[in-house]
Amino acid sequence: AAHALATDAEQPITIDSNTATYDDKAAVSIYTGDVVSVQGSIKVNSDKLVVHFVDGDAEKLVFTGNPARFKQTPSPGKEDIIGDALIGEYYPKKNLLILKNNATVKQGNGTYASDYIEYDINTSLVKAGDKSTDSKRVRVTLQPKAKK
């Protein structure tokens, strides 16, 4: 059964792909070809995934795809939060997913589009754009609720 947001971060990350390379020197594992990564209710589909290790722990996961797609089920029965981007960076210990380059996140009746979106997988808080630069413009679309 799908997990609520709170428990997602504690689940192990499982990865399926066509091939994988483990490089001790660079301390990375590179998965390529139809990569499906799952952690609890979070699922990411990408062409490539690079797992960066620090002291043997998966510190950062970098997804790339055309685009890479992610989805999370906030709680059973609730509408999925979905998003995509050319690059996704996931920091398991910070529960933080950063989407870059043509990034969009759809949450309920809102859609966020920018070149830089931060998404907290615990609180499902979305922060779009980047204060330090104007280049990461943000477009938010809020669909009106259907009339009863």
Partner: protein, 188 residues
């Protein structure tokens, strides 16, 4: 007269016997050798141990086997339960054991048959690494190994499996899983 005839026949008989005996004795060694079936061992050893040192005098690798059998026709060395240690200065040794192994005549190709277990314990700058697979082809000199079979790579608590593997077991380790890859990482 009859006695003389008898004596002559007696001498001839003894002469014939003597010459037959001499002929038997001089059978050349060639005809006397046993016909040895092809691919039979020329030497073997049980409780086999082999240490190999590097140019620096330090232990480079060590091989033990329950039994080692060498075959003269193709020069191969067959090993029962081989256990190998590949030492290097920087990290703990790689330990490889298998059910059986066949080393080529020139020592460049080693085929490990059946279950193969490869392990390197953790060190100052390395994480423990365990590989379980089967039927591996090893090139000891270049520390390279490959298999077409299922392989499992465990670096606790993370685990990755796949079908087909290529491995360089020397710092820096480089390992490739060729298909049907599944990885699992603990995050907490």
């Amino acid at each position: 007269m009859r006695l003389r005839h008898l004596r002559v026949h007696l001498y001839l008989g003894v002469l014939a016997l003597l010459s037959w005996g001499l002929v038997e004795l001089t059978i050349t060694e060639e005809e006397g050798r046993l016909i040895v079936p092809p691919h039979s061992p020329d030497y073997f050893s049980t409780g086999y141990r082999k240490w190999e040192m590097g140019d620096d005098g330090l232990l480079k690798n060590k091989l033990t086997a329950e039994r080692m059998t060498h075959y003269s026709d193709d020069g191969t060395t067959h090993l029962d339960k081989p256990l190998m240690f590949f030492h290097n200065a920087a990290t703990p040794p790689w330990v490889v054991n298998a059910e059986a192994g066949i080393l080529s005549a020139d020592g460049k190709d080693l085929r490990l048959n059946g279950k193969v277990h490869v392990e390197r314990t953790g060190g100052k700058s390395t994480k423990p690494l365990i590989i379980n697979t089967t039927n591996v082809r090893v090139k000891p000199e270049t520390h390279y190994a490959e298999t077409d079979e299922w392989a499992e790579l465990i670096s606790p608590p993370n685990r990755t499996t796949g079908v087909g593997m290529k491995l360089v077991f020397e710092q820096p380790v480089h390992l490739q899983l060729l298909s049907k890859v599944q990885g699992k990482y603990e995050t907490k």
